[in-house]
């Protein structure tokens, strides 16, 4: 295993974790719809209990994504987290709210009331996907930072907004909103898959929101895709490390790495199939898994486009040569190799997650099941 291979490998692992995170944000998506799908307190409780059995996976994936990025690309960690301070703090703040909202909301002694915590879940459901999507878009559109290499390597943001300026970029906002609407779509499909409730299904409350969110998602996503395939991208010379602008860089990446193009097409087809088949065949409940698989593949491809094929994955709009590439920001070969051996545990981890998930999801969630359960939210 060469150093270059390990850098590509860890880029893949981090991108995969990010793709899984986007998929798992179906929890946030469903939570953002608590009040629009759940017309009564019982219906809202059904939704909360459905997502409440999975929120830990989203949370853990976010934490592992952070840890893996830190271990493999520490300069990104120090530059982005230390620079885009407000953006990351808002994301974290919203996830803190989520973590406690499930456990506390229906407990005796809850001083703030059930509705408060449900509102906090909605807040996390909106802010989480929107801000994370916006943060991901900066991998294409650049961020306003400078890396200085004096007697220490110091990263700093080039303006006082500390990351909030990312949301002023229309394309960052477009991807942020696209991820938000995608999360809501996946949330609907998850609820459709898990909840067996005559009222919710009978009145089409779960499927109905799919329509609006799908058109909004498709419009924003396709616009963003068209933008990145036609814009100039951030390339670098692997020999000298010099970073330069290359016209149609991401389109070139897609054509050069054609398997990624095939994967992108497969991913998009799966997402569309999962959504539209669910809309027109209401008894079919596998749309969540089909669209979820498509989401993981699509996001994975998009993220790999920003880093592989000599591309600067975290470009700087303030100083082009400060842009981060896989080569100038990765950990040492020793650390990447050590972590490679640790990553061999991932299939084992995935296996027990699948096993436990299936064990808990054998029966659909119903009002009766919740009332009989020894632990419910």
């Amino acid at each position: 295993m060469s150093y270059l291979f390990l850098q590509h490998y860890w880029c893949f692992i981090v991108a995969l974790l990010a793709a899984l995170l986007v998929f798992l944000m179906f929890v946030q998506g469903a939570n953002s719809l608590i009040f629009s799908i759940g017309k009564t307190a019982d219906e809202r409780r059904l939704i909360v209990n459905a997502t409440g059995r999975k929120w830990e996976f989203t949370f853990t994936t976010l934490v592992t994504f952070g840890g893996a990025f830190f271990a493999s690309y520490p300069l990104f960690y120090s530059t982005s987290f230390g620079g885009a301070y407000w953006l990351w703090m808002l994301i974290l703040f919203s996830f803190v709210l989520q973590a406690v909202s499930y456990e506390f909301q229906n407990k005796l002694g809850n001083l703030l009331g059930t509705r408060t915590f449900q509102c906090l879940l909605v807040l996390n459901g909106i802010l989480g996907p929107l801000l994370l999507g916006g943060a991901v878009a900066t991998f294409f559109n650049g961020s306003n930072f400078i890396v200085e290499r004096g007697d220490m390597v110091v990263s700093r943001w080039a303006n006082a907004s500390h990351g909030l300026d990312a949301l002023l970029n229309v394309w960052n906002l477009a991807l942020g909103l696209a991820v938000f609407f995608l999360a809501r779509i996946l949330g609907c499909l998850y609820l459709h898959n898990r909840i067996d409730d005559k009222l919710l299904h009978g009145h089409d409350q779960i499927i109905q929101p799919l329509w609006t969110n799908t058109w909004l998602f498709l419009g924003l996503f396709l616009a963003f895709l068209a933008h990145i395939l036609t814009c100039d991208g951030y390339a670098y010379d692997p020999e000298t490390g010099v970073i330069f602008m290359e016209p149609y860089k991401y389109l070139h990446n897609l054509l050069t790495m054609w398997p990624l193009l095939v994967m992108l097409l497969i991913g998009v087809v799966f997402v569309l199939h999962g959504i539209f088949w669910s809309m027109f065949h209401k008894e079919w409940k596998r749309g969540f898994w089909v669209a979820g698989f498509g989401t993981v593949v699509t996001v994975l491809v998009l993220l790999l486009l920003t880093a592989w094929n000599n591309t600067a994955y975290y470009p700087s709009t303030a100083d082009l040569q400060s842009s981060l590439t896989m080569q100038n920001s990765s950990s040492s070969e020793f650390t990447l190799r050590t972590m490679f051996y640790v990553s061999l545990l991932v299939p084992f981890v995935l296996a027990y997650i699948v096993y436990a998930w299936r064990a808990l999801d054998r029966k659909p969630i119903t009002q009766e099941e919740i009332s009989e359960s020894s632990h419910a939210y």
Partner: protein, 513 residues
């Protein structure tokens, strides 16, 4: 490097924010670790006996575990990301080493914990008894493994090993994963910390059970829970005494300034007594430069020497010895602070010259000479940023009193467990029962005191001898950090109030027996 542009107030706010998050996080983690074992023991009893009593007992403690668990998770995520948001220079300088334990923690521990905690909570009616029991133990194991890796990371900051500085990348890089993962400091810290969490969990169970005994409710549940808690607590306490002694020995070898601050030992020597109590003003750094020892000192002869060196006549350096330099018993000389500063500055200056020479394609002999200077002085790199003696002395009153609260509290809990085991009837009496309940908040104070000893004693170093806090901080303005500090303070405090309220109601409601 543009260290001069760092707002000094931002350093204080960054430290305050990290301390706030860590203190809050550490309010919830010990109960997760300690109660996790106890509820697993109780469910094992149910698995073996099939008794509905043990099922509802296990479910009751799991309910309290769940209320506490969520807050631990919520505060934990902030901690991980604060390394980047508030300590970005640190993150780059040592990310090559420090990031690995955090990533492994996520992959190995967090997923185990989050997967099986869902089975534990929601699987009672859905999976077999055996699978459920395994899930409960795996939840506890996941939390404990998580503690292992985060303490490996923390221990590396206390005693950096398995790494070397790379002047080309200008960062410290890992050279031995095993040295990092199995460093003696990490092993000591893990054992001592987890045992302390087990003691806290035991005190919690004994205290809650005592409340039921006092109220004469759920008597069988309370009596049996009390017994399990007391036995577990007593075993943990016995082990923690051993680990405490070993931890003190390790601190003496690796962080003598921390030990000197804990003991308020201004001038060291052989045959050192262990201070029981002394009259130190809690709000003012004592004059360690002028005084030989704190006023009103009451001490146990030879005990500090034994604790620090395993020899009642052993040599223990005081604060002034460390600042002025001293000769160790094995004949090696520990340089004075002035010499360390001078060598640190030499490392920094030569590193700049080395980088310039490399960029200009200078002769190999020049570069090799510079490398040699860097390598021979790099261990004092962090001292190059120190300006005066006071900067490297931790705040003594906090270290001194926190250490005594930790040890004193530990002794109090041994007494509690002994009473709960051998004279449980005493806990049904009003005063003893109330005292047992009161031990719950005391155990939290004691637990936090332990954390204060470990972290205040390390100041001013983010990484011992390598990176002072004012160099590791992010280039974020103080106002931004102040706002997030206040936001998290309000949020965590509000959520803590809700959690305590829910916990009290759950206790008041009692188990379904």
């Amino acid at each position: 490097m543009t260290l001069l542009s760092i707002d000094p107030a931002a350093i204080d706010w960054a430290r305050a924010q990290f301390a706030l998050t860590a203190i809050y996080h550490w309010l919830f983690v010990p109960l997760t670790l300690g109660l996790g074992i106890i509820m697993s023991i109780m469910e094992t009893k149910y698995y073996r006996t099939g008794s509905p009593f043990w099922r509802s007992t296990a479910q009751y403690w799991q309910r309290l575990f769940g209320i506490n668990f969520a807050m631990g998770v919520a505060t934990g995520i902030i901690l991980e990301f604060e390394f980047g948001t508030n300590w970005s220079n640190y993150s780059y300088l040592v990310g090559d080493i420090f990031g690995a334990p955090l990533a492994i923690e996520g992959i190995v521990a967090f997923f185990m914990e989050s997967t099986f905690v869902a089975v534990m909570f929601f699987g009672w009616e859905k999976v077999s008894k055996g699978f459920h029991l395994a899930s409960t133990w795996l939840t506890t194991l996941g939390a404990t493994i998580s503690a292992w890796w985060i303490l490996v990371a923390n221990s590396w900051m206390q005693h950096p090993v398995g790494q070397q500085f790379n002047p080309d990348t200008m960062r410290n890089e890992m050279t031995s994963f095993l040295d990092v993962a199995l460093s003696p400091v990490a092993v000591d810290k893990f054992i001592h910390t987890v045992l302390s969490a087990w003691v806290l969990g035991a005190v919690f169970v004994v205290g809650v059970s005592s409340w039921y005994l006092l109220r004469k409710r759920h008597m069988e549940f309370a009596t049996k829970s009390l017994r399990v808690g007391a036995v577990f607590g007593l075993i943990s306490s016995a082990l923690i005494m051993l680990s405490g002694h070993h931890s003190a020995y390790t601190v003496a070898q690796t962080q003598p300034m921390k030990l000197a601050a804990m003991e308020a030992l201004y001038k060291g020597g052989t045959d050192q007594p262990l201070t029981l109590i002394a009259g130190i003003n809690p709000f003012q750094q004592p004059d360690y430069e002028a005084a030989d020892e704190p006023p009103l000192k009451l001490a146990v002869p030879y005990a500090l020497s034994f604790l620090a060196t395993n020899d009642v006549n052993g040599y223990v350096p005081g604060i002034r010895d460390i600042l002025d330099g001293y000769t160790k018993p094995d004949g090696t000389v520990e340089p004075s602070l002035d010499e360390k500063i001078e060598r640190g500055q030499r490392a920094i200056t030569t590193l700049a010259e080395y980088r310039k020479a490399k960029a200009e394609g200078a002769d190999d002999s020049i570069i090799n000479c510079q490398l040699s200077i860097i390598n021979s002085n790099i261990q004092y790199f962090g001292y190059g940023y120190v300006k005066d003696r006071a900067q490297v002395v931790p705040y003594i009153p906090v270290c001194f009193y926190a250490f005594r609260i930790m040890v004193g509290g530990g002794c109090l809990f041994v007494l509690l467990f002994l009473i709960a085991l051998w004279k449980p009837a005493l806990l049904r009496g009003r005063w003893m029962g109330v005292a047992a309940i009161f031990c719950i908040p005391i155990s939290y104070i004691v637990s936090e005191a332990g954390w204060l000893v470990a972290e205040f004693g390390r100041q001013p170093w983010t990484i011992q001898d390598m990176l002072p806090t004012w160099v590791g901080v992010s280039q974020v303005g103080s106002s931004a950090v102040m706002v997030t500090f206040l936001l998290f303070l309000i949020l965590f405090t509000a959520l803590l109030a809700v959690e305590i309220s829910i916990m009290l109601r759950a206790i008041k409601k009692g188990p379904n027996t």
